[in-house]
């Protein structure tokens, strides 16, 4: 079986369109099989396209973990919105968009409504600066304002904003910008997590569990990166080297399915082990990377 990993499949795209704009109206298999003949050579070309795609945990999840850990709101943690004007290059703006996205989730979860609104305004401006206007719903800020105080709505609106931006960037082959936004959000989420709780309790475990997510970020940046992000990649690789010291074990357990409620219970067990010394090193490196981004 041909195996193609998620990516921009240029050749497949041309085949799709040549075949007759893809689907018939009733979604049944097209009868227009004679429109295009795919040779073995064509299929081989498809095989060369694409790399693995990684899902990076949402900063919203990280903010929720901070709240669930019992940590209090700390106004000193998020990057000040006043700093937004300091980011000039598209690389800096992209990273800042990720940073402020994580801050927005933090504000929303701790019901800091005015700060959330200011943050959303900065995000809209950064998106405009990055030519993402096509991805932004008109009236987003207005709807955001109307929903201040409704935590769930704010989180849904901000998640839609980032998903639309991500889709728009990928559609326009701006994968590096998309990757930098994700990287910025991940770094800021981790930064706030370790500083909210001093690495105690569940957060410490959650940090250790980011080992694979970081590998994904490094892979995405390396794939799409340019000289402009070489220093960031190097720093993240240093952090990755530290994460390699996190010990993991995995034991498969048979899942249980409840078909009526369309739910599968995944019961496999994974353990993560991280020493005090290694955790401290990770925190130090993480803070260094974060501060180099926001400064």
């Amino acid at each position: 079986m041909i195996r193609m990993k998620w990516s921009i499949a240029c050749f497949a795209a041309s085949l799709l369109v040549l075949q007759g704009c893809v689907e018939s109206s009733d979604s049944q298999k097209s009868s227009d099989d004679d429109l295009t003949t795919v040779s073995d050579a064509d299929k081989a070309a498809v095989l060369r396209v694409g790399d693995a795609v990684f899902s990076i945990p949402s900063p919203v999840q990280t903010a929720l973990l901070i709240e669930q850990s019992g940590a209090d709101y700390d106004a000193s943690l998020p990057n000040a919105t006043a700093n937004a004007g300091n980011y000039i290059s598209s690389t800096d703006k992209s990273l800042a968009m990720g940073i402020y996205g994580a801050n927005l989730a933090y504000y929303a979860i701790f019901d800091q409504n005015q700060e959330a609104l200011s943050c959303m305004t900065v995000l809209e401006q950064l998106a405009n600066d990055l030519d993402l206007a096509g991805a932004i719903d008109r009236g987003l800020i207005r709807r955001f304002s109307e929903n201040l105080g409704n935590q769930d709505s704010l989180l849904v609106l901000s998640s839609h904003f980032f998903r639309n931006s991500d889709g728009y960037l990928k559609e326009n082959e701006r994968d590096l910008t998309a990757a930098l936004i994700i990287a910025g959000g991940w770094v800021e989420g981790m930064f706030m997590a370790v500083n909210s709780t001093n690495g105690n309790g569940e957060i410490r475990q959650r940090i250790a569990e980011q080992k694979h997510a970081l590998s994904g970020i490094v892979s995405i940046l390396e794939r799409h990166g340019s000289d402009e992000v070489a220093a960031l990649i190097t720093s993240l690789k240093d952090l990755q080297a530290l994460f390699d010291g996190v010990k993991t074990t995995y034991e498969y357990m048979r899942p249980e399915v409840d078909a009526a409620s369309k739910m599968t219970h995944l019961k496999s067990e994974t353990s993560y082990s991280i020493s005090d010394e290694l955790f401290a090193q990770i925190v130090e490196e993480l803070e260094s990377i974060r501060n180099s981004i926001v400064s």
Partner: protein
């Protein structure tokens, strides 16, 4: 001149092909449902015949995730399967009439591999969209 024409043509073709992804993503997002929040990313691939799209994800312990998969403008065109890091099959929606969404309650944080391909009885080619959402 010829290269320019080819470039313009390819851009047009790609734009048209990916343009359908946005529409499909919009249709697909209707399955997210109340109480779930998008992870902020859009996963898509243009698939042809038996091609398989694959991506890696971390499911955090104590969370419930909703995977939504679509291709075309009706439900059930996309088959997706979830494997653990040792390639044990954890779930495939082909066992459940190609259900467009499924929830996963996660006991312990784990790495998963998600594979998606078209149900060739329904579609020869198309944009496959997957969305990962978590329960608040």
């Amino acid at each position: 001149m010829r290269n320019l024409i080819l470039t313009v043509l390819l851009s047009f073709i790609l734009g048209a092909a990916f343009g359908q992804c946005d529409t499909i993503a919009s249709v697909c997002s209707k399955h997210i449902g109340d109480g779930f929040i998008s992870d902020g990313q859009l996963y898509r691939a243009l698939l042809y015949e038996d091609q398989v799209a694959e991506f890696n994800a971390t499911f955090f312990g104590g969370s419930t995730y909703r995977l939504v998969g679509c291709s075309g403008f009706e439900s059930g065109n996309l088959i997706y399967s979830v494997f653990d890091e040792k390639r044990n099959l954890l779930f495939t929606n082909s066992d459940y009439d190609n259900a467009p969404y499924w929830d996963f309650k996660v006991e312990s944080t784990m790495q998963v591999i998600i594979e998606a391909h078209l149900d060739q009885n329904k579609l020869d080619s198309g944009c496959a969209v997957m969305l990962i959402n978590f329960e608040k």
